[in-house]
Amino acid sequence: MTTTRREVLKGGAMAAGAMALGGIPMAAAQGKELSVVGATFNLRDVILQEFTKRSGITVKPWINPSAQARADRLRVAPVDNLESGADFIKYAWDEKLIQPVDLARVPAWKRAVRLFQEGQQTPQSPVGFGDNPGRMMYADKEKTKAKYVPYMYQFDSVGYNPDKVPAKDNVLSWGELFNPKWRGKVSLYGIDWLGMLDAALGMQALGLLKPADLTNLTEKEVDTVILFLKEKKKEGHFRALWKAFGELVNLMASGEVWIADAWWPTVLEVRKKGVPCRYAEAVEGYRAWAVGSSISATTKNLDAAYEWINYWLEGYAGARQAEIGYYSPVDTYTKYLTPDQVRQLIAGEGRDGGSVERRNTKVFVWNTKPKNQEYYTDKWNEFLAS
């Protein structure tokens, strides 16, 4: 029969093709493999190559822009490490997809800045609320085990084009995002709970909202925020919402957007394209988030998984991330940076927001998934439909 013959031929061809194509990555098929799930801003080529060079382990990355899809990946495929932010680590932990990390096997963690050990940089600085890694990352009271090991973190604030948006001493309030003067030139984070968190920050700054817990708004508070957002949408206040880092860079670099909630790497990239961009020190404080590595509950490569985590804290990866604007909780990366870079990136010379130390003391809130997220999503969809 025509079909059967063709199917057989096709099957054979497919098998041969699959074998040829499936193993394209650099290192030979020999040796260990590590299955890592992450995003394009951490699983970067230069970092993966160096890891393979040092350890002989080939990394097989699974990259997806959606944090939910990344966490769910652990359900359907054998994964060794899940790289994620505190928000979805909480989710993966509750769903028992990851296992506790024994911090005794991660000696570099002892050198983590106080922000991550205690949740506040100095005893006087505010304890950022929400999913503060310093508070929630540990799996036990003695802090010997962790749900995940953060290796990069970032402070979100207001990014703006200084030619269009004036800011005294580079200080702006979160409320500036909703200043009607910038109508049509504003962008906001397009993920429901994060966008609403930023909106709530702004509204609180403008005195329009007085929530008890900014990261867990009550239903009435959510309604207020959404009503406000809907009004702004009707006025054409938002040029576009951004969901991915690359989108925001393009929005600001093309001049479509003058002010947005952004983080430092965005500012760097936009400046590289010749468009002036600065990153304000927020009056109320930064919104921070920390991405790190966790170990899958079903991993068969436990040793390799620890090697991966230790590699990230060893310094090389931290230095490469610092070059594009992220910070490492552990100070091991200075040895991989030039003295100039150390001055700029860490001591904050010529950098908006100043040194890392300074930033650490000004964290106001951490990215947090609210408890009643379903309600958030439904109301956000209302906002989109309006």
Partner: protein, 288 residues
């Protein structure tokens, strides 16, 4: 007689591979999703009790019903625009372009962009429509406007503008096919009988091309209903059609509700096709 005896086992054997493939890779997953849409549990548990509450949730929230309406409305608008433009182009190509080589060349010019990934083309539309983009530069240079028009991008208008580019070919192709199959003797005969060109078109040519028009409309309808990438990228994430809802709901962990939207999307698409098929039965495609 033909190479296939009627009702022979060989016939069933030939039909089996395609049929089984569709059953396994389409029908079974669809039924599964329909089952998931009835789950009362939040997460992924096969033992979940079943309920219709998820569907009730959709229809009792005006926002969601509105998204359904918006999606259908967008599809109808696109059908109209692509239908008119598509027919014009098809008619021009078949009737007015005499040289067959030129005909082929123009047709190829229409088709080749389709071979470039739709995602890349979508991304390419952003600089085209933006405030510094080509359209605005042209408008500024010719003095039609004195400030760049913002409404082209990150708006419903922008979505429509780019979708016209993507989907008009779907409306053009089938019409070209049916126009070609009209034997020239028919319009000639009508003209001999002193019919005006308009009457020739309206009473003879257009009805004969109706199957092609309908296929085109169905194709455009299906594509626009299911489109989410254009709405996302060119709409600036500010709008949601049914396709976007599925992804949004999945990403916020509402699995069953995402399945509900997926099922409703499918039902809407099937209903639409059924309605369109009532106008013309496309199974008779090609029969004169």
């Amino acid at each position: 007689m033909s190479t296939l005896r009627e009702r022979s086992p060989a016939g069933y054997a030939l039909a089996a591979p395609a049929g089984l493939w569709m059953l396994g890779a389409l029908v079974v997953p669809t039924i599964f999703i329909a089952w998931v849409s009835l789950w009362a549990a939040r997460g992924f548990t096969l033992a979940s009790p079943l309920t219709l509450a998820n569907y009730a949730k959709f229809f009792t929230r005006p926002a969601y019903v509105r998204v359904l309406g918006d999606t259908v409305q967008q599809a109808l608008v696109m059908m109209l625009i692509t239908g008119v433009i598509g027919y014009s182009i098809a008619y021009f190509l078949v009737v007015h372009v005499r040289h067959p080589g030129l005909q082929l060349a123009v047709f190829l010019l229409l088709v080749v962009p389709f071979w470039t990934s739709a995602l890349i083309r979508t991304i390419g539309w952003i600089p085209f429509l933006g405030v510094n983009g080509v359209i605005n530069q042209v408008l500024l240079l010719t003095g039609i406007v004195d400030r760049p028009v913002e409404a082209f991008l990150f708006s419903r208008t922008g979505i429509t503008l780019s979708q016209v580019s993507f989907y008009t070919l779907l409306a053009t192709g089938p019409v070209v096919y049916t126009l070609r199959n009209i034997p020239p003797s028919l319009p000639e005969a009508a003209q001999c009988l002193r019919a005006t060109p308009l009457r020739v078109f309206w009473r003879i040519v257009f009805p004969l091309t109706l199957p092609g028009v309908m296929i085109g409309q169905i194709l455009v309808f299906l594509n626009v209903m299911a489109d989410f990438a254009t709405a996302q990228a060119i709409g600036g994430h500010k709008h949601a059609f049914l396709g976007n809802l599925v992804i949004l709901l999945y990403e916020s962990g509402q699995l069953a509700f995402a399945a509900v939207v997926a099922v409703l999307l499918m039902i809407a698409m099937l209903l639409g096709v059924a309605v369109l098929l009532k106008v013309v039965d496309i199974r008779r495609l090609g029969e004169s």
